[in-house]
């Protein structure tokens, strides 16, 4: 309470908000403004492909260091996520998609913690939205291919073992949650955590800077130190959250696919 009043009393304290995510354009191509997250996003693909292509190229039975590291990530997605959730029968054809999702989200999240770069691209809602829509197309497409259009609709909306008038209530609910809301929640979960995390880091880093260097209030120095410590703590939390969000996005995508292609649920 005292901290908040101190901040309020000081003249011109920083107040990071959504505007801080709207970075000025680096350059313009025609009418299109190219911003930092766009460049980062494009670079992430280059980075991922370069790294993993180099890792996968030897394809040796006894892997070298780079191949081993690449296989660890690939095996984590392939065996730990895809096979466990889709089943060993037909998980193989979804592995590239899930691997791309995981690495793409992972790299674009960790941009937020890399010095100088320091901007999680996934905090711009357009990026996770596109990813969620593609995921939606993939799992619905896989389900329709497996069961046919009507068969898939029945598969997703009619819970097994349910009969009678209760279906009038259940079918719209299932349709809403399994078909309509999944891309929305996928998008919002990833976007919101990255957005909030970056906002927190901004708040505590700018706050610490302001309190330690520009404020003349007597409480400013201890508050600034506390703010800097919190910044470090939240950075560590973000390390965890950034991985978890990449993992959760991939995990949910694989679960949606697994459910869609399952014989009976």
């Amino acid at each position: 309470m005292s901290l908040a009043s101190t901040l309020a009393a000081a003249s011109g304290p920083p107040s990071p908000g959504p505007a801080d995510f709207n970075l000025p354009a680096i350059f313009e191509v025609g009418a299109l403004e190219v911003t930092k997250p766009m460049v980062l996003l494009a670079f992430s693909a280059v980075l991922i492909v370069a790294l993993f292509a180099a890792s996968a190229r030897p394809a040796a039975v006894v892997p070298g260091r780079l191949q081993f590291a690449g296989e660890m990530v690939y095996g984590f997605v392939r065996n730990g996520i895809a096979r466990d959730n889709i089943g060993s029968h037909d998980f193989q054809k979804f592995v590239p998609f899930l691997f791309a999702v995981f690495t793409f989200v992972f790299v674009n999240n960790y941009y937020g913690l890399i010095p100088v770069v320091q901007f999680p691209a996934m905090s711009h809602i357009g990026f996770p939205l596109a990813l969620a829509v593609i995921t939606w197309l993939v799992y619905n497409g896989a389900g329709i291919k497996q069961h046919g259009f009507l068969g898939y609709l029945k598969h997703e909306t009619v819970p097994s073992g349910m009969k009678g008038p209760i279906l009038v209530l259940l079918v719209p609910l299932e349709f809403l949650s399994n078909i309509l809301l999944r891309p929305v929640t996928l998008t919002l979960r990833l976007f919101a955590t990255m957005f909030a995390g970056h906002l927190l880091l901004l708040l505590f880093s700018l706050g610490a800077e302001y309190l330690l260097l520009h404020s003349e209030n007597t409480l400013a120095i201890p508050a600034g130190i506390a703010s800097a410590i919190l910044f470090v703590g939240i950075s560590f939390l973000e390390i965890l959250v950034m991985f978890l969000q990449a993992y959760v996005f991939t995990l949910l995508a694989s679960m949606y696919i697994g459910e869609a292609v399952a014989d009976e649920h």
């Binding site: 908000g17 959504p18 505007a19 995510f21 709207n22 299109l32 403004e33 997250p37 766009m38 996003l41 494009a42 992430s44 693909a45 991922i48 492909v49 993993f52 292509a53 890792s55 996968a56 190229r57 030897p58 394809a59 040796a60 039975v61 892997p63 191949q67 690449g70 296989e71 690939y74 392939r78 592995v95 590239p96 998609f97 691997f99 791309a100 999702v101 690495t103 793409f104 905090s123 711009h124 809602i125 357009g126 990026f127 996770p128 939205l129 596109a130 990813l131 829509v133 593609i134 976007f191 957005f195």
Partner: protein, 180 residues
């Protein structure tokens, strides 16, 4: 409400982070699909190939080891069988040798006994023959001697006992002389 916010966002005063930029959606989709394509083309085949080869190598190694073990087992059994056979053969040969030895010994013994008997018999026969010859010779000589002795005794005066005694003694001395 959304439209007013959109207006606000375009004006740059009150930004709503929930309103996506169309350019960003398109860019993200394009970059992601490109990434997916490149991963399908360059990343996944390598890793899958390594997995497959590793699995094959491990399974091949296990099979090889099992085959080798089976082979070793077969060889061991074969050796054991051969060893048993060899032992059996050795025992049989030893038995045969023993039997043959005993047989040879018995034959030798029989031969020796026969030889001994033969030699004894020959010796007996020779002794008998020599005795018979001596007896025959003695018989004829005793006759002659007796005749000669009788003649001499008769030729001399039978009344003279001393003389006849001397004649007998002389005869016996001659006889002994001739014998020597």
């Amino acid at each position: 409400m959304i439209s007013t916010r959109l207006v606000a966002a375009t004006e740059g005063e009150e930004l709503n982070p929930l309103i996506p930029h169309a350019a960003e959606i398109v860019l993200s989709a394009v970059v992601f699909l490109l990434l997916l394509f490149l991963i399908v083309k360059f990343v996944v085949p390598g890793f899958e190939k390594a997995y497959k080869e590793r699995t094959a190598a491990i399974e091949g190694g296990i099979e090889e080891a099992q085959a080798a073990q089976k082979e070793a087992q077969a060889a061991l059994e074969q050796y054991n069988a051969q060893l048993a056979e060899a032992r059996h053969d050795a025992a049989r040969i030893r038995e045969e040798a023993k039997e043959q030895g005993a047989q040879i010994l018995a034959e030798l013994r029989a031969d020796a006994q026969a030889e001994a008997a033969r030699i004894t018999a020959a010796a007996h026969a020779q002794v008998e023959a020599e005795r018979a010859q001596v007896v025959a010779q003695l018989k004829s000589e005793v006759g002659t001697l007796a005749t000669e002795l009788a003649g001499r005794i008769v030729g001399e005066a039978l009344s003279d006992d001393e003389r006849s005694q001397r004649t007998v003694e002389r005869f016996i001395a001659e006889l002994e002389e001739s014998a020597n």
